[in-house]
């Protein structure tokens, strides 16, 4: 065996990089530093060979595990027996689902009479956010794959709401704002400000809409009080989790299919800053002429449902 004469510090540094080097995760500069060392150091070069040999052997051995013949067919059979996700069906039979959702609302309204008024109110208010999220973001898919540039989003939001964009961006560090606009609910005078974000493997909406005299009940319906004194409410509706809060003039909703605790956590970070900005004057003028509108007619928006909930008719 050769007598190896190496600079142990240099070797140590390079060997700490070998894992990342093997996975091709090093910066170009570091890679060339490693390569330079390997050229002159036989010990490290042999070590790299050993690691590469092991990785190659692992890949080769792993490739022996091939799925049995019947597995593909078994999966295909089961896929055809199972229904896809609820909202997948929307695209296939929108009218049937619209009808079903109307029936659900009627049933929910009937059952609602037996529930306490406070709980009803919380659900019906939070359902606005869920409905908007499903109709515009999920069903309508009104967002680009690649985030629109911030100046374009600010333009869509108009001067009244543009100041909210950096707040949403800052307070949702794990999410990227893909789209921001103002939506008009057809058949109703209601508008809402809509931020559509992507992160944690899903789409999350932040929705702000005027309270128009409605308010969420205080006391035992709260799920959490954020440190800055913002009361939060939560609900699970239509397969989505929603956390809501209110400012002097607005309701705010954070909606996605992430878990309830996660939604409360996200809303806890976001709600105080949004509420403060709204109370300090963002959106104080009624958004009668929004900068950008989504046309819901083309996506079969269930306006009767949204308007009904908004008018508070489902709350006895």
């Amino acid at each position: 065996m050769n007598v190896l004469n190496f600079d142990s510090k240099q070797c140590e540094r390079v060997r700490r990089q070998l894992d990342a080097y093997l996975s091709n995760e090093l910066l170009v500069e570091t890679t060339s530093e490693v390569l330079r060392h390997l050229e002159s150091c036989e010990a490290c070069s042999l070590e790299l060979d050993a690691r590469m040999r092991l990785r190659k052997a692992l890949r080769k051995a792993a490739d022996q595990r091939v799925p049995p013949e019947h597995l593909r067919e078994a999966i295909s059979r089961r896929l055809r027996r199972e229904q896809p996700g609820l909202f997948g069906e929307f695209r296939v039979i929108p009218w049937a689902v619209a009808l079903a959702s109307l029936v659900l609302v009627v049933v929910a309204a009937q059952q609602g009479f037996r529930l306490q008024r406070g709980r009803q109110l919380v659900s019906s208010v939070l359902a606005i956010g869920v409905s908007d999220h499903i109709q515009c973001a999920i069903k309508g898919h009104n967002y680009p794959q690649v985030a629109s540039p911030p100046d374009q989003l600010r333009k869509k939001l108009g001067p009244e709401y543009a100041g909210l964009l950096p707040i949403v961006q800052e307070k949702l560090p794990a999410f990227q704002v893909l789209e921001a606009h103002i939506c008009q609910v057809p058949g109703s005078s209601r508008n809402y400000v809509h931020f559509i974000t992507r992160g944690q493997g899903t789409i999350l909406s932040v929705i702000l809409t005027r309270r128009e005299g409605e308010s969420l009940p205080s006391g035992r319906f709260l799920v959490a009080s954020a440190p800055a004194g913002v009361d939060l409410y939560k609900a699970q509706l239509e397969g989505m989790n929603v956390a809501g809060f209110e400012s002097n003039e607005y309701f705010g909703f954070v909606v996605s299919d992430l878990g309830q605790d996660e939604m409360v956590r996200i809303a806890t970070g976001l709600a105080p800053a949004l509420r403060d900005a709204l109370n300090k004057g963002a959106g104080t003028e009624k958004a009668a002429t929004p900068g950008f509108q989504i046309d819901f007619v083309s996506i079969g928006y269930n306006s009767a449902w949204a308007a009904r909930k908004w008018d508070g008719q489902s709350v006895a």
């Binding site: 065996m1 050769n2 190896l4 190496f6 142990s8 070797c11 140590e12 060997r15 700490r16 894992d19 990342a20 093997l22 996975s23 995760e25 036989e42 010990a43 490290c44 070069s45 042999l46 070590e47 060979d49 050993a50 690691r51 040999r53 092991l54 990785r55 052997a57 692992l58 890949r59 080769k60 051995a61 792993a62 490739d63 022996q64 595990r65 091939v66 799925p67 049995p68 597995l71 593909r72 078994a74 999966i75 295909s76 089961r78 896929l79 055809r80 199972e82 229904q83 896809p84 996700g85 609820l86 909202f87 997948g88 069906e89 296939v92 999920i138 794959q145 493997g201 899903t202 789409i203």
Partner: protein, 183 residues
Amino acid sequence: MHVEDFEAAAMPHLADLYRSASLLIRDSSEAEDLVQEVYLEAWKSFHRFEPGTNCRAWLFKILFHRLHHVRRRLIKASRVEAFASPGGEDNFMAEPPVPQDIRDEDVLLALAKVPMEFRETVLMADVEEFSYREIAETMRIPLGTVMSRLSRGRKLLRAELAEVARSFGIKQRGKGAGQGESA
């Protein structure tokens, strides 16, 4: 949404998913069940999948989610701490040699002895060839944890392989190869 669209996007990854599942679960019929469950869950939430994004990574994410869920129920005590303790810092200059000719069954035997957390990461990086970032997202662990688990996992695999080779009396051929590190 048609099942054919889903199959076109997802079925090409069946072999990869099965390969990893079968290396993480000892019982092959359980591995088949797991892969079937992954496909069913993916199909049910296919409306959340964005066309053009990485379908393979998405399927692996579901795989690990289910795998961890099952494991949490089955295993109460975790062995991670014992292996991940910083006190176990390796002497990087004294790694065991890697045999020149390695039999598939020896590698698989050695791999099966590597604790699960490390085995998963080594498989994801070295067999499935995901990037560190993709592994972090798929397994829902921080990037730094990916790096430390991969480094530790490769070392553990190497040590187990040396042990297997020794116990099976495999003679190393080729003098010096893989021994440069034991200076």
